[in-house]
Amino acid sequence: MSAAAVESDAIENESTLSARVVAWLQPWLVRIEEKFNYVGDYLNPIVVKETRQALKSRQFVFTFVALLIACWLITIIGVAMIGPGIYYSASGGMLLMWYYYVLLFPLAVIVPFSAFRSLLTEKEDNTYDLLTVTSLSPRRIINGKLSSAMIQIGVYFSAIAPCIAFTYLLRGIDVLTIALLLALAVLGSIGLSMVGLVFAAAAKQKYGQTLISVAFVTLLLICFSMSLRGATTFLFEGMQFVQDWEFWAGMSGILTAYICIFASSYFAAIAMITFSAANRSTPLRWTMLLHQVCWVGWFAFAMFIDSFDEGPVIGFLLAAIYWFVVGTLLTAEQPIMSERVRRALPQSLLGRVTLSWLAPGSGTGFGFTLANLTTLLVLAVPTTIFFGDFNWGTGRTFCYVAAMFVGWAYVVIYLGLGRLFINFLRRYSNISLLAGFMVSVILVIFGTLTPVIIQSSSRVWQNAGYTWLQVTNPFWSTVNILENRSTAVTLWLLPLTLGVAVCVILLNLMGMARELRQTRIALPGRVVEDEAELHPVVEVATSPWDQPDEG
């Protein structure tokens, strides 16, 4: 046999072998593709579309390549600078810092801005309407946009992962620190992307979109510079505290705040793109309850660790400001419940008593705020008395208790009056949620600034300190009591504000009752038919008599 023939046989055998391998692999490959297709069917359509778009977009390719080049440069320059010391010195921390800086830019700026632009571009390019009329729910739209941002984060991470692993090999940095830094970067990026989606959902008009874009970019750049500083401090100074339980308590506190803000942003973004007949309020009210529980929990923990007697009053007054802000939004809701919301109202007595406050409406919103604030008061007052030495009319503890009651009363008065005023205006014009919010805020500003301006422009009262003129000023009045400047003032301001607050509650009672009296209505016949078609009830045999006849 000639050499050429042997070579020809070898090639033939080789091709036959490869053909055999391909033939053996083919069914497996087909099966794998089928599995991928099956999984792909259940992926969010927006994720599929945006991943396809991103892979073809210049912005993504440019950022990814720039990130890789930056990592290579850092590696080459870093190794060159360390020189022979690479074998014995602990230089991982320094290199990690630089890699982290490179990673932070896409994570803190590019990814959140892409998420923001992704939703905003839908509005600018007229695709948002097309998206809205599909079967995608607002929740799935937000989930899709957020998931796309998370995929981008994953891709950037995959680019930098070998470099991060390299820093560990260089010593001077432990796995826990690396994991903590990366976790903070990921959570920060997801959180900023969520905020970006809220901003984009809020941008309705063209001029508003430009303004919001500028504001968001500024916010991102601030966050980026803060995270650079934070990462440097943590890497070189904070690592020593990792052993302390206070460090982990602080991290848990930050995580709790993150979850609370994230949940609010998530449901706010969904609410902003949901049609008005749907229940947009209840999920947000649940998150407010979550905030309340976390706030109380962390303050209780702080009091348990370090029983400082100002704790409850600080906690209560900060919470009162929070409840005023969210209360203005809740009391600005439309006082009419849509038929769709009424179809899902609780029916049982227990359900109606406990869950009706979570139903949308300005009256239920006022009641919900009042209930939460009163709960806080009920918790904070006994705690203050327990930790302090309470003497009626005198002493610091009395002032703290009085300040909490006065703070409670002011929130109730301003929210209640704001609600009544908004409902009065609604008789003559259509007042939106934002306009209603502004009405309540302006009312507080008016009540605060007017007496200050009058007093400061009067020769008689200019230097008189706190006077009865300031009775509408919630801030000066509360601080005046808190600092125990005048017991006489406290003794007339406390019953006065409480009395007015009770009157305001009584004035709002009718409206609240009207909303709470709403009962569930039946589903329209066509909806029942559709539900039966979508979710057919499978009859299950529950007794031998239910079995079908076999004869």
Partner: protein
Amino acid sequence: MGQALSHPQIEVRNLHRTFGDTHAVNDISFEVAAGEVLGYIGPNGAGKTTSMRILATLDEPTTGDAFIDGFSVVEDPDRVRRRLGFMPDYFGTYANVNVHEYLDFFARAYGLRGKERTDAIGFVKDFTGLDKLEQKPIDGLSKGMKQRLCLGRTMIHDPSVMVMDEPAAGLDPRARIELREMIGRLADIGKAVLISSHILTELAEVCHRVAIIEQGQLLAVGSVDEISGKFETQAVVEVRFVGDVEAAHNWLVSRDDLLDVRKHNRGVAFRHAGDETSQADLLKQMIEAGLQVVEFRCQTKSLEDVFLHVTQGRVQ
């Protein structure tokens, strides 16, 4: 969907929509049945797009309601969306996406999975003639092709109702004819179609009925003949004779039931107040009177005539 429907596919009830002082839609009510094409016509700013956006659940009425397949657009927009295909007067395309990916995205967005999605995309590509362009980027498509793609997107989930706002705008004559044929086929397969257009000749050929709107108010609904019959009680009749036209003219002038009799080419034209039966009687009497009639034609009103007659060109 196989059984007879007890409700119209589109039902608009006393719809109002105001923007500040402007009453964009003012008490509009009409219905569209399955398999019917209703032309929605009116001058610019008449309220067509506003009412179509309300039907598409993209806007909300100030008062009143509209129903798609029996579901309220206010209370159950999610159920409406599953049954409605909306084609707005703009394209709405994505960057870095080709024809197949675009249709695939909307098929997924409507909840189609697996073979169902593949079949739907295949059907739509075939229906709109986009099968040869499936890998082409959307940015590179002509206007006519983009319009086809938008029609494809509108029908990807096999909706029972289609609302199309100016689908023929900017298309060349061939593309218009093709679009008209496609709309006709949609009606043939049982879809209720509401279509607005400024090109009235296009609408006249494809629509079963028309609704004329001006300043937010519905002026007339019905077939072109019904509307023209409502507004024009007298028909213009043209008759052509062989021989002495003068004698025929004199005979017609002598009759009391005819108005505005005048000579017209080799014949006579006049206005007649009666229906088709009385027109037949008149023709019979003319022949009996010895007039040699070779053509007896009752002028029909075009959609343009009806539109100009009904509307007054008012804008708000």
